[in-house]
Symmetry: C3
Subunit: 266 residues, 3 copies
């Protein structure tokens, strides 16, 4: 796994334009769809219980995101996830806000128990909750990342997933393990950048069955595109950043990824 | 019908600022509202079954869009559509994704059977499904448009609607028949441009009871605005295009429409 | 209360980054979250009945907005509002469209009767409906503002709230009374600017328990940011305005507020 492989997967996504089925929150639907279109994937959103499974079966990846969950939406996510499981379609789960309320934590656990989640993406706090840890995760915002790497390894083993923890350093733990150090702090000033990242990872997983490789490549591509957008917006123009980021998800190509990717094998 | 008439209708919309009631999908609500405000119409969104009919009665056009349908939302659409029918308010239906899942197809058919749809807008695949065609629609993405024109004619007759099929060439079939060749390929890289188009057509239908004329004028205006926005963004900056397109929906006026409209009577 | 105090509260919001829980409409979720992030507050959106109260309890302000209400969402709003009441967390209510349909009016009245609303924000028409006035409110769009000031006073007394009525002149009536004359007409061409304002006011109320002071400061800051964005976009580029406005919610600081705030004590 190296930057050349990231470039290769990026081109594969753009050539195959995989249909990615997103059951996601109402805050980020538009940004997610536009981000996937900019990348070159084909987004679809359908979260009615009556059709979630049917749509999942014709997709090449399924994204479950509980940012604004309701009981109906969780039911639809489970139906979509199970349908994807039956057909071997990769399922990415983003447990947004797990730990913030009991309902959110329980719903996340229910999804993990009923669906065979292939890729779990969250921040360190969310992943720690799902591993049953009550202790504080140190090093999330600081310089030390040892705890986060351990947590990713633990979650991968305990939950049987490829685990992606994002933060200052992104960590991937699955068939292989990687760290990625691309991105820009302004990403935290635009809503939905984490949610869209989940859908971008899913797009890469649609064309590469080694999900740890796919996730590392997606993280690196996404971070490079963000760096290029931030070079225009600076840190103080989040409106401009969001626009330029969509531009860069479209324009960032093989050359930019090869030159600027910062990935390491653990 | 000619570009001067398009310009006249555009000014009428801007002067009368018709209230357009949109029962639409969660991906495009913001973009649709902002697009209608930019045009100069007055958007409202209210899709609870408790008030959908009441809101429809005070609107001058109603848009039904099943992009992210649920059973409650379909019920609300039917209530709004029937209320509009009783008062002679034009109803536009956009059967997003008809054919993709059985639930979506059945819901589209249910709306068509319970509501007197005035204008049906979709791509060739969606319209073909609603005409009961199982055969492939040729020429949708290619140069040949004969099949699409025939399909529009067939749908108009079979379903009793003014039929608008969008693609490389847009086709309108109703009281009269038109083709429109404005627009830009980057429209397909921004989510909701088809959905917003439906609401823009509805805005023109609010001020012109010959719906085929209104639809042809709306298509031409919309396409000219897109061409002007694409002149700034190019094909590779979808973020910039979306921003400039909202600007141009506001700024494109009579002169631009008269000079750049590409409409033909069939 | 003066511009220096506005500047002080603005810095307090940016330093404390209060968690603001928004139960709002599907049209403006993204814009609201991005606006709060740009300001420096911490938005959260969670409108399931199962968790609305739990999320309210950990927030520092709660916003209820019925722009696209459904019965479930109104139930969740009431649960969140009551939970906030119990803990003394400020609750802002935006009765979007009250008066447009009976369901909307009744739902607004139900919220006002079941929740102890601290700040009520609306346009003159909406507030008049909630005061049981059937007469037209004069002067809403014109120069005369006497009626609006009287209405704000009446609503504050009758409903036991700090009342904020926005228009050409914004009026605050609570512990003290203020008028604010910042802002730009292009705000009316971008959807959700009123809804986001409610959430910005709530952010200021999270750090200042005199809600009339907090509201006046928020209105002034918001209007100054809009003026600065409109200086870039002009009146005819609503797409550009929306982007620049997010930039300015981030960049407008103490100096700009002190120099450009137009607030008067009544």
């Amino acid at each position: 796994m190296n930057n050349e492989y990231t470039a290769k997967l990026l081109e594969k996504v753009r050539k195959e334009k995989p249909l990615v089925h997103n059951l996601t929150n109402t805050v980020v639907t538009n940004f997610t769809a536009n981000g996937l279109l900019a990348l070159g994937a084909s987004p679809v959103m359908a979260d009615a219980v009556e059709e979630a499974a049917d749509m999942a079966r014709i997709a090449r990846a399924v994204v479950l995101n509980i940012g604004t969950l309701t009981s109906d939406k969780v039911d639809a996510m489970i139906l979509a996830g199970k349908a994807a499981n039956e057909k071997g379609i990769p399922v990415l789960f983003d447990p947004v806000g797990a730990g913030a309320t009991p309902y959110r934590t329980e719903s996340a656990q229910r999804i993990l128990s009923e669906v065979n989640v292939d890729i779990l993406r969250g921040n360190a706090g969310e992943i720690a909750v799902l591993c049953g840890r009550t202790i504080q995760v140190k090093g999330v915002d600081g310089g030390g990342n040892e705890d986060v790497r351990k947590l990713a390894k633990e979650a991968a083993a305990m939950l049987g997933v490829t685990c992606v923890i994002t933060g200052k350093e992104d960590v991937v733990f699955g068939q292989e393990a990687y760290t990625v150090r691309n991105g820009d702090p302004i990403l935290t000033r635009v809503t939905g950048t984490g949610c869209l990242l989940g859908s971008v990872i899913a797009s890469f997983c649609a064309v590469e069955r080694n999900y740890s490789k796919a996730a590392a490549a997606a993280l690196s591509f996404y971070g490079v595109a963000a760096e290029r957008a931030a070079a225009v917006s600076g840190l103080d123009q989040p409106g401009t950043f969001a626009v330029q980021f969509l531009n860069e998800l479209n324009r960032t190509g093989q050359e930019e990824v090869i030159q600027n990717g910062k990935m390491e094998v653990l």
